[in-house]
Symmetry: C2
Subunit: 99 residues, 2 copies
């Protein structure tokens, strides 16, 4: 079964907009770098409900199956992205589910 992999991000308050844009681009680029990523969409919170707990970004990745996720998580390009992300990160939430 396909897996949706949701990653919610909250950046530190002092993160420059240019840094946020660079991270958005680097995360989105994983879709072309890592074949296990079947699709990737992302956006910034525009809910009027005020229940996002400070998370501003959602990246929504789809893997074909658990094997796809298992190849993504330790993939060097993923790990390299995480190193770019970490210094700017205030909080992260990851939730996956089978479609």
């Amino acid at each position: 079964m396909p897996i949706r992999h949701l990653v919610l991000l909250k950046f530190k308050a002092d993160t420059e907009p240019a840094q946020v844009q660079a991270i958005e681009a680097a995360f989105a680029a994983l879709a072309s770098k890592i074949s296990a990523v079947q699709s990737l969409e992302w956006g910034t919170d525009n809910s009027p409900e005020g229940l996002a707990k400070g998370f501003t970004h959602c990246f929504n990745l789809t893997f074909a199956d658990e094997a796809g996720r298992a190849s993504y998580l330790p993939h060097p390009d993923h790990l390299a992205f995480v190193e770019i992300l970490k210094p700017t990160l205030d909080d992260v939430l990851v939730l996956d589910y089978a479609v």
Copy 2:
């Protein structure tokens, strides 16, 4: 632009499995009750990363546009569902983004 509406749920520890199942069914049924819901998928967290902050369920709804969301949020069937949900709810997170 279509909108993804992500709802993450964490139930109170004393919520009976049958109650959780009833809520899962009632939430999913909104897709057939409310025409603004273009699609709805949901699942329970199976991430190996341990970063879900206690949220166990994700419901992922798609609206055609902001007008669709604006008709969903105050819809009587949605509000009736929220009343069923509330007593069992430990925490909720809602994040929407334009696709």
